[in-house]
């Protein structure tokens, strides 16, 4: 067998391994119900949940609390997922900048003990690129 065929086989084998590893490592977009189900099944993989913040009638955010004087690494809030389910989210980091301005929030983490523990928070602020308001 020629050396070039062996190389080709190895390259193909690595490429296949890459594809498997990618599909295996890719996270998933789920809602809170699915996240809870995954956690109950013992699946510790982190998932993505897309949602938005919850406001009460007077425009106040419900369940949001950050008291840096007590613990600067503890922030909690309530997120409503795309199915409309509201869930308490814990985030062991300071409150992200411009958190309230986010139109959409993606949290990455896992469900645990009745809450969702987020390791990362991504915020979509469309205003950053396209501001539709104009000052007159």
């Amino acid at each position: 067998m020629k050396a070039s065929y062996i190389i080709l086989l190895v390259v193909i084998a690595v490429a296949v391994a890459i594809i498997f590893s990618s599909t295996g490592s890719a996270s998933e977009y789920v809602d809170f119900a699915q996240a809870e189900k995954l956690a109950q099944e013992g699946d510790n993989e982190m998932v993505h949940v897309v949602g938005s913040l919850v406001k009460d009638a007077s425009g106040q955010y419900v369940g949001m609390s950050y008291n840096p004087g007590i613990d600067p690494n503890h922030f909690e809030f309530i997120l409503k997922d795309t199915k409309g389910r509201e869930q308490k989210v814990l985030y062991f980091q300071p409150k992200p900048q411009d958190f309230e301005k986010a139109e959409q929030i993606v949290i990455i983490g896992h469900a645990k003990a009745g809450v969702f523990v987020a390791n990362k928070i991504l915020m979509k602020c469309p205003s950053k690129y396209e501001d539709k308001e104009i000052k007159i």
Partner: protein
Amino acid sequence: MNLLIGDYGHLCVIISFFAALLASYGYFEAAKENQLNNKSWLVFSRIAFAIHALSVFGIVATLFAIIYTHRYEYHYAWSHSSNHLPVYYMISCFWEGQEGSFLLWIFWHAILGIILIKVNNKWEAPVMSIFMLVQAFLASMIIGVVIPYLNTKIGSSPFILMKESMPDLPVFQMRPDFIAEDGNGLNPLLQNYWMVIHPPTLFLGFALTIVPFAYCMAGMWKGWTKEWIRPALPWALLGGVVLGTGIMMGAYWAYETLNFGGYWNWDPVENAVYIPWLILIAAIHLMISYKNSGTALRAAVIMVTLAFLLVLYATFLTRSGVLGNSSVHSFTDLGLSGQLGLYLITFTVLAAILIIRAWSSMEDTQKESSVYSREFWMFIGVAFLSLASFQVLIMTSMPVFNMIAGWFGIDLAAAPPSSPETFYSYWQMGFAFFIAILSGMGQFFWWKKIDSKQLWDALYLPIILSLCFTTLIILLGVLDAYKGEEINMYVKIGYILLIAASLFSIFSNIMIFVKVIKNNYRLTGGAIAHIGMAMMFIGILFSAGYSKIVSLNTTGLLYSKEFSEDVNRDNLLLFRDTPEKMKDLQLVYKGQRIEVKGYGGYVNKDWIFPTEDPYKVILRKDIKEKEVVVFHKGDTLETNPENTFYEVAYIKETGDTFKLFPRIQQNPKMGSVVSPDIKHFATRDLYSHLSAIPLNPDERDWSPVETYSIKLNDTIFINDYVCVFKHVDVLHAVPGVNLGENDFSIVAHLMLLGENGQAYPIHPNLVILADQGASGAIPEMNEELGVKISLEKVKPESDEFVFSVQTCQKDYIIIKAIEKPGINILWIGTLMVIIGLAMAMFRRYREFVAMRDKGQEIA
């Protein structure tokens, strides 16, 4: 409202598009063989190109004029600029918007086209025909024309008016000629000097990948299937240098400006450029391999083509909105994704047809490379580079797979990996290990094939040296220096292997360098670039793998015990002037600072009065520089109200101190940006940033107003601090207030005593406008103590002064500090790669020129 300038710009866009098409067609005719009028077609195409280039410069000039003169009737100027934007950032407006970045790309193409016409003789017509076809496609991205009947928009013009872009704004119904007074402003992230040079460099790199592609396609088309390599090689090397530099500039910008704690985040936008760069480097190696020994021609053709197509794919990924949720900083969709997709497909098909036609004429001259040949090992290196690129490509393309699956009604819902750092890094580390070894070995097959005996003679020294140094590093405990989270044993073994391989590459390339430089220093580019690359591996390994959070919060209370393994203590709360311990350092938050025009340092925010114009402040104290007063009390100074710096003093146990000024940039329209400040040491960086935005004084929870009526020398308690009413003055001039002849101001001097016995003077004013019978209190706040006092009234009948007092929590910041060891090795390595590639480029360009001047361009 000036409509003419926009019409002029739009006209230039349309001319540039059609001139590009005409030039491409003209060059196509001129490239045909056995045609009598080749010469006149060539002249025609050059004129068309000249018109094209001039109109491109016209577009750039017009757009800049619109931004520079603040013509907010134009949407582009309004959405990307503002009245207070300095001129050097106006250039950045070009790449904040999509249209502007396409324009930048087109601009670079026009410049490159001029050079290509100048340096080539025989190649000009076929190369420029392909080149201008790409250019016409690019120009169509900003043409902004709606095709009648079909109702399809082609391109998005940078010259549309506000009225056209937002016709639904209510103001246009009332006042059709309305022009906004100020623009929306430039994204604060782009207001950074790196952002002035990084995007143009990156786009030049993009533009450069098309040159080898155009040579390659011209070669396929004209049957010069191997001759294209020589003229294309210097361009491919230049592309590799510029694109690589652009990527690393972006990395450095991210390190310095963003707060994600590093220089590389595996964000899809970063990956999108990394993928074609790796392929371009692979293509360069194959081209060199073909030049040396006539092997791997087909592979070189495929790689050069892929590098260009992947640049198009990168544009498609970042510009079409397909990345959606997976990236924080991709552009929004302008409705051009279809056009971009079409562009990508057209050139893929065109390239495939030309390559397949020429395939059989590209037989390798040598059937099988020996295991002891340089080409054999180069080829394996190329395979690893391609696999490294493929690995990033697959994961970055997940949103595309989601989209394609969506067309068939399948909801894939695949998201990017939850910890991209480890997912990408472990794979890339494996590839880096092999690439480092191969780059050390391949270089030894310098002139000819050698046998196993000679190979061992050449290799034993670098192998022994690298093993010795690796052992030394292990024994010195450098790899255990991390005291935070325990490093997994397998990961550590991986680190050791990568260090050994990188050291091997460094030592063997140094040997090559020493050998080659005696003969001809011009040939040392390869060795320098490979040493640089291996240094980058080591620098990345230490700065990323051993980056350490030093701001561990060891005093804070824990909210919830049940989540103990999830909880982190990475961030520290600092009250102003209250020292906190952090590792072997003591941290003291000193207060807020601003920058003023004409003064190099930072100015204490407590020493200034704000005015009605947020860009102007009045000084309350003399500012000195080296004991010389630069600005006087009462001077009005210019500042940028968006920026606040937070002075933090780092006091070492040994006594020496340094200060860092992490910044927060608050833009009311676009949100806030947190930027770190970095202290550079020879062996490491200390990187620190605020991890939460401090609340503005008016956003804090102030207590209800308490009123005190007191006499001189009375004492009250505010926020548990003793406050003494010292004395009263009458002033006839107050900074920032216009006082009439009979007007005056009463200022009360109070003294607050802090916890550590420090005294804080505080003087609220009461301005009496005698002629108008009015008065106004100017309260004073001490942010450090969280106290606001205003003098409300004077009661002459009882000698009493009425003060109103409010209190809130003391001023504090939350800070995160990270140590990055060995990061300078990364930057030095980067510079060496750039120098090495540039040297190789000049060498190959001289080869091309020498052959051209002999009249052997196609030989």
